[in-house]
Amino acid sequence: MLNHIWFAMILLAILIAAGSDIYNELLAPQPTGISGQKAETRNLNEETKLGRVTSAALEGASTAVEIAIGLIGIMALWLGVMKVAEEAGIMKIIARIVRPITRWLFPKIPEDHPAIGAMIMNIAANMMGLSNAATPLGLKAMEELDTLNPNKGEATDDMCTFLVINTSAITLLPATAIAIRASLGSANPQMIIVPAVLAATCATIVGLTTVKIIQAFNRKKDVKYINTTNRKNRKD
């Protein structure tokens, strides 16, 4: 799926940029292009869509590395804390407390597996708006989920469920949005809290319904595969 979407984004970007450049340079009623101005005086990199697409691609690539490198420190901090929590048995206690919910959400994960604790911590961090802590905890959860994965390199149902909960994260304090509203002089910056929580709840419900329907459909189609997965999981 991501294959198609990723390719489509790049293809569309180049086609659309080229198309609008061709239109602007050659076909527009009042050409600003080649005939209108001498080439040396123009900065094609900024004036044309294709030029902008090129520099966006290069910028995107270096931003990605900056983000990943910036994550390392916080990652190390939270992974360290999580390791201590695991050794102390805290993750098991958390997993036990939330068992009624997780049994429905993640039926295939053994009941006090460390993945449960990490996922709950991630969801809690998201709810409190602590995005700095949420990402490392979420990645820790993904690592734990991957230990249950029989086909490395392919997402499991539980990973997809977790991802959907994450992308529709309910935040009790949307701090960034509130801060910007306040800085622009809003009379009531926190007015968005209740609608945002309600909207995110809708998103979560729709997302979970979607994954549960897909999972139910897949199970009917491929019973054997699911059974072997289950057995493998229990051994771990």
Binding site: R52, V84, M128, C160, T167, L184, A196, V206, T210
Partner: protein
């Protein structure tokens, strides 16, 4: 509302120190070698950071190119009949399109909308609610799956986008109803 905000502000400041204190002291008194275990866990931080680089590069390059090409304007135009139907002001549509793609991009769009149309206008209200209620799905998918080297994401992206669409529509309807 003032007290609510104050409580939330304090909670968000105090929660991390409290978690650190709680976890480390439980570990310490249960005779866990806290320093050694911390270092042991923290070792993985670097590998994970490096592991997600290729995934993040692929995703951010595609998104950056898509944004720079003006493709969003065309999508906005195509989707306009639908958003008119649910009563979404057409000014907000670029915000809704940007939100799943880019965190910094949608932050920019939101700020711009609130500056032009007023923070306390319906447009400002809807766009900031959208910002506060959904996540940057493409980014989350790249980072989370990248950390465990997963290339086949199966139905995660479509399901995540379904959730986003539901959240964005809900934000519009709720804000319009109570404004």
């Amino acid at each position: 509302m003032e007290y609510f905000k104050l409580t939330l502000d304090w909670a968000s400041i105090a929660v991390i120190p409290l978690i650190l204190l709680l976890f480390l002291s439980i570990g310490y008194f249960k005779k866990v070698k806290v320093y050694e275990q911390f270092v042991e866990g923290a070792k993985e931080g670097f590998q994970i950071g490096v592991k997600i680089i290729p995934y993040l590069v692929a995703m951010l390059v595609a998104i950056a190119m898509f944004r720079a090409s003006g493709a969003l304007d065309i999508l906005t135009y195509v989707l306009k009949p639908f958003t008119d139907f649910i009563g979404m002001p057409s000014e907000v549509l670029p915000m809704a399109m940007m939100r799943p793609l880019s965190g910094s991009g949608s932050l920019g769009v939101m700020t711009e909308l609130m500056k032009t149309h007023g923070v306390d206008s319906l447009i400002g209200f809807i766009s900031s609610t959208m910002f506060g209620s959904t996540e940057t799905t493409f980014y989350v998918i790249a980072v989370y799956f990248g950390a465990v080297n997963i290339q086949k994401t199966r139905y995660a992206l479509p399901a995540g986008l379904m959730a986003d669409v539901a959240g964005l529509i809900a934000a519009t309807l709720i804000c319009t109803a109570i404004f």
